[in-house]
């Protein structure tokens, strides 16, 4: 019974990672297609551009969440018993949601972006028919339900194992003076993600339902400002939680490779508690140019966006540097990617924090500076963590061996991702608007550099993906496979 459940967990993780890597390559191709069009190298219609933009954004955030969930599930199951059926329930609901979203975009011409602002879907429904908007909105809703089911189940398991989410977030050690170390990093991170992302998804679901109701009966209208708050509470938290799920792999892999424990001491626990609080609070930095929002809320958006950089910079990234320092660590694909991913995360946090400064935001909001910073911490952070974990998974659960081509692919990926992120940030510096199908001649140079970098990133990602899929064929052949606890 136990053996069957263990196999199911591995299958679920393997399948999720395979979907993640394959979809990622397609989404990267879409990304390059947009840059080529903006750079005036190829010509696609504006409608196709915005459809591609919608699937690129939705798909990227979707696979980051899927890959992050696989990491979270894999490691959490080392510490507590988990039922793989819940993982598959989320996976199936997600896949149905994805099919609906694809139909919405490519069959019914939905092109409002993944963080659409009410009442845009209603306006689009009037132009292109309701089917596209409704398919997209219900697809997103289904995805959200899948994640909520998973988070509520994980919450129930953590409450049973640790006596409450406060305890699995280390409150006994922070507030009650309990000695020693708190729960494993995977447990602490999962608790944070459960609290933040459940809140974010419920906020997003409310905004989605508002749009659905308005499309079905335009007599029912809603406050667009409230809807925007809900949309960005969702978008911001959901995107951030992909990092907080994936970073579990950094804790585990670097700890294992250096032979040094990465224990949850008091500073670690305080940092994660603040991350939970700040992640919930700081979405208002997406509304800094909505002058009608109460000023105190916008100032909070700036100050706490700064503060949100502290846990990662002072605890997680610093901890990664400390654990690697003079450790005689064995550098391979997994450890290199985790180390570089921590650099990517922190490097991306810098322009993000700067953009959260109200006076800077006034002249940089919704320029390409914004995709500049999130491509840095998503592409060189989250996705690098997922790629690193993919190798680790096939090495640990199978017999994957590193080859020279892997080193070449890692170097290519990070070198040209720096170029891509730099081209976005530079485009932001020269005030290029984001989400424009066509660019003025003054802006196309940065797009062309970005597209070239994108092509080489895709080559590296294809190598990672092919190597991972080949490695999957060796699953179960490693006699030293780590044991995973699970129940059927």
């Amino acid at each position: 019974m136990e053996s069957k459940a263990r196999k199911q967990i591995k299958k679920g993780v393997a399948f999720s990672l395979m979907v993640t890597s394959v979809v990622l390559v397609f989404m990267m191709v879409f990304g390059v297609m947009m840059l080529l069009n903006q750079g005036n190298v190829v010509k696609i219609s504006a409608q196709l551009f915005y459809k591609v933009m919608t699937i690129h954004g939705t798909g990227m955030i979707g696979i980051a969440a899927l890959g992050g969930s696989a990491i979270m599930w894999y490691y959490l199951s080392k510490y507590i018993h988990l039922n793989p059926k819940v993982f598959f329930t989320n996976l199936i609901l997600s896949l149905i949601g994805v099919v609906m979203i694809l139909a919405a975009i490519f069959v019914f011409n939905f092109s409002d972006g993944w963080t659409f602002l009410y009442p845009l879907p209603s306006a689009s429904a009037k132009l292109n028919g309701s089917a596209g908007a409704l398919f997209f909105l219900f697809g997103l809703l289904l995805l959200g339900i899948g994640y909520l089911v998973m988070y509520f189940y994980l919450a129930a398991r953590l409450i049973k194992e640790y006596g409450g989410l406060g305890k699995s977030l280390g409150w006994d050690y922070i507030f009650r003076g309990k000695k020693g170390y708190g729960p494993p990093a995977a447990v602490v991170a999962t608790t944070m993600v459960i609290i933040a992302n459940s809140t974010g998804i419920l906020a997003g679901a409310t905004a989605i339902v508002e749009s659905i109701v308005n499309i079905l009966n335009p007599k029912f209208t809603f406050d667009p400002m409230l809807a925007k708050h809900l949309t960005y509470a969702f978008g911001h938290i959901f995107a951030n939680c992909t990092i907080y799920m994936a970073v579990i792999a950094v804790y585990e892999v670097l700890s294992e490779y250096t032979g040094r424990p990465w224990k949850s001491n008091k500073a670690f626990l305080i940092a994660w508690n603040f991350s939970t609080l700040f992640t919930l609070m700081i979405y208002t930095h997406h509304l800094l140019m909505d002058f009608a929002v109460p000023r105190w809320m916008l100032i909070i958006g700036q100050i706490f966006s700064y503060a949100n950089g502290l846990p990662v910079m002072v605890v997680t990234a610093y901890g990664a540097l400390m654990i690697v320092f003079r450790s005689a660590v064995k550098w391979d694909f997994a450890s290199s990617m985790m180390f570089l991913a921590m650099f990517g995360w922190v490097a991306g946090a810098v322009p993000a924090i700067i953009d959260a400064t109200i006076v800077v935001n006034h002249v940089m909001h919704n320029t390409k500076w914004v995709p500049g910073h999130f491509h840095t911490y998503m592409g060189m952070g989250v996705i690098a963590m997922i790629f690193g974990f993919m190798y680790y998974f096939t090495k640990t659960e199978g017999t994957q061996k590193q080859k020279g081509i892997d080193n070449l692919a890692i170097s290519t990926y990070f070198f040209f991702f720096t170029g891509l992120a730099g081209s976005f940030l530079y485009a932001g510096k020269i005030s290029t608007p984001r989400r424009w199908a066509e660019h003025l001649p003054e802006w196309t140079g940065a797009d062309q550099v970005g597209a070239l970098c994108g092509v080489l990133i895709i080559i590296a990602a294809v190598i990672f993906t092919i190597r991972f899929i080949i490695g999957l064929r060796t699953l179960g052949k490693n006699s030293e496979t780590n044991s995973l606890k699970s129940v059927s």
Binding site: Q47, Y50, P224, A292, Y306, F325, A347, S431
Partner: protein
Amino acid sequence: MYQSIAWYATLFFVFLIALAFSFVYGESRKLKEYGSIQEKGYKIRKFYFLGLLAIMGFASAISLSKLPYHDQHVQAKENGKVVEVSGIQFAWELSNENFTVGEPVQFRVTSKDVTHGFGLYDEKLHLIAQTQAMPDYTNIVSITFKKPGTYKIMCLEYCSTGHHVMIKDIVVKPKGGY
């Protein structure tokens, strides 16, 4: 100005971070007992933490005193020229299109359909001010044009497939000129 500050500050801090990661990578093949590394590392971390707090506190103190919001803007005088601005898929409607250098202008920005972004660009295509154009809400952005020329209003919030064509030229005349 802020664009350049953001760019160079990012390059500087990312360079420092890269330096730290490179240094640790360079030292990673050596081996030392972790206890002593932790002891020293935690001491350094206190200063690092306080240093970051000081930088963030300084940046907050400087930047929060110059908010672009209406009543804190230097040029946001009640006697300034008021221009009603409406975004509509995919155009900008202005109640007044006559602008002169040195004249304080209040743009009262809203939308007639979906949310747009009111982005004001100078002749060199630098973004000099913006606010959101949201239905049911009016956001006031104040500006005093310093140079004559053709400025552009561009949409900075995705508003559907004509988003990128939502550009309007406005001409700012020299003071006392034509």
